[in-house]
Amino acid sequence: MITATQKPIDEIKEAISPYKRVLVLGCASCVAECAAGGEKETGMLASTLRMAAKMEGKEVTIREKTLDRQCVKDFVVQLDDIIDEYDAVLSLGCGAGVQAVAEIFPELPIIPALNTEFLGETRDQGFWVESCVGCGDCMLYYFGGICPLARCSKQLLNGPCGGSKDGRCEVDPEVPCAWQLIIERLERFNALDRLEKIFPPKDWSKKQGQGPRKIIREDQQR
């Protein structure tokens, strides 16, 4: 999932301050799972902003709505009928959601309320951790299902570095050494010999080759 956290409230207030009619727009997908931009968070942010406006004696209209997915055009067009009532949208979508809404309503300022963080997992209640960099060429098979690009602080493909001690990363003792995890896991599968070969330099053109990446699937097009 894509994870995100809410921006500081003062930054949000500052960004919407020029507008009188604001739609606070949530997204019920990834950002709902990470408790940053779902229906609940959207409602809370909208009432916080309404309350703040009232306290400051400002006459503004702030309403909320949550889409199933902000990053999918078919869902965003559901706003067609109501969008004219607003002069700005405060989006609690991820960076992709914000841009999808902006693409569909080019005349309207779309303001992000979240900082998009990373591709990660919900490890526990209130605990999310990065696990994928979206490199476009998955190597998890070789590394026992643990990605060194996302989880090793130095992105080593031929680790571990000299700073791995007692299974911890030198950068922060709270961080498990990805390479220790890889080695332990491959040992369990009796596949440690997979690491004897030298992994060649990564082909980063699959991640950042020529502008934003696209996926085009003719079989999916209508």
Binding site: Q155, G162, E170, Q180
Partner: protein, 306 residues
């Protein structure tokens, strides 16, 4: 051929020392440090923005040393440069007459004074060794384009026998050798027993026949420094007994005790089969290197061409 390569190939026990460039543009700073090492060591190893703190570039400092008759070892970390810049700098270094390159990952940027910097890590240290070897021996860069003139450099890499997991440490050494490392410089040795175990594993895999291993040593100035290194410096293994020995002498005599311990470690290293030399990292204490070399029975150094 660099002096370091010459000494190692002749089968003599090599001595190198480390020199950190200044936090400024003053060329005298590096030359003054080097002057203290003149004729005491075979090569001077120049760090590359160590601990991720901005300093004069290692390449410029090495060029200054070369112009003044020293044999520099250029440290290059993959933290700050992508593969284009690394390969370009290897060619530049060779053009400046630098004949030794030590390929490293580099201390993580979060440790230094630019924690907001992007960590590049486009290549890792093993891949970098392989790239330099290809440039030198097969005269090509990554992707296969030919070089008009290859960089004739002696290639080094680092190893930490004290990192975990121990069993895999030797696999990583083997990978560095397979990638093309000519010499290996180890992390500071305080735990000689563990180092011996690692060397034994290296010999079992015949690695000591393929690569020159230089044991790393750093003299401890005080019990305070030992404590700091034991608990705060990544990848360091300082046994309790080492700390206790320093604490057991009055603070005014701890520096002398540290030198004595360093000399003993070097003497221990000389006895281990497969150890080809020593690398002395006297951090901001270069003045003591001559004394350590002398007391360890490593002087005088062989002169060039003999």
């Amino acid at each position: 051929m660099s002096r370091l390569e010459e000494v190692l190939k002749s089968g003599k026990f090599a001595v190198t020392a480390e020199c950190g460039p200044p936090k400024g543009a003053d060329p005298e700073a590096i030359l003054k440090k080097a002057e203290l090492l003149k004729d005491k060591v075979d090569a001077i190893n120049v760090t590359d923005n160590q601990t991720a703190i901005v300093r004069m570039s290692s390449m410029a400092a090495c060029a200054l040393l070369k112009q003044n008759g020293f044999d520099p070892v250029l440290q290059m970390v993959v933290r700050d440069r992508n593969r284009i810049a690394l390969q370009s700098d290897v060619l530049g270094a060779a053009a400046l007459g630098i004949e030794n390159i030590l390929c490293l990952s580099g201390d993580h940027q979060s440790f230094g004074n630019q924690p907001q910097a992007v960590g590049v890590f486009d290549l890792d240290s093993i891949q970098f060794v392989q790239v330099v070897r290809e440039m030198r021996d097969n005269e090509v860069i990554l992707g296969g384009d030919a070089l008009s003139k290859p960089p004739k450099v002696f290639i080094g890499a680092a190893a930490n026998p004290f990192g975990d997991p121990l069993g895999f440490r030797v696999v990583r050494l083997a990978k560095k050798v397979a990638a093309g490392a000519d010499f290996i410089q180890t992390q500071c040795i305080y735990n000689l027993e563990r180092f011996k175990k690692w060397m034994e594993m290296a010999r079992e895999r015949n690695l000591t026949e393929k690569v020159y291993i230089l044991g790393g040593v750093t003299p401890l100035k005080s019990a305070k420094m030992a404590k700091y290194m034991k608990y705060k410096v990544a990848g360091m293994d300082i046994p309790d007994a080492v700390l206790a020995r320093l604490e057991g002498v009055p603070s005014k005599k701890q520096a002398e005790e540290g030198i004595k311990m360093c000399v003993e470690t070097i003497q221990g290293l000389k006895e281990i089969p497969g150890v080809s030399g020593v690398h002395i990292m006297a951090i901001e204490w270069e003045a003591k290197v001559a004394e350590i070399v002398e007391r360890a029975g490593l002087g005088p150094r062989p002169t060039k061409g003999k």
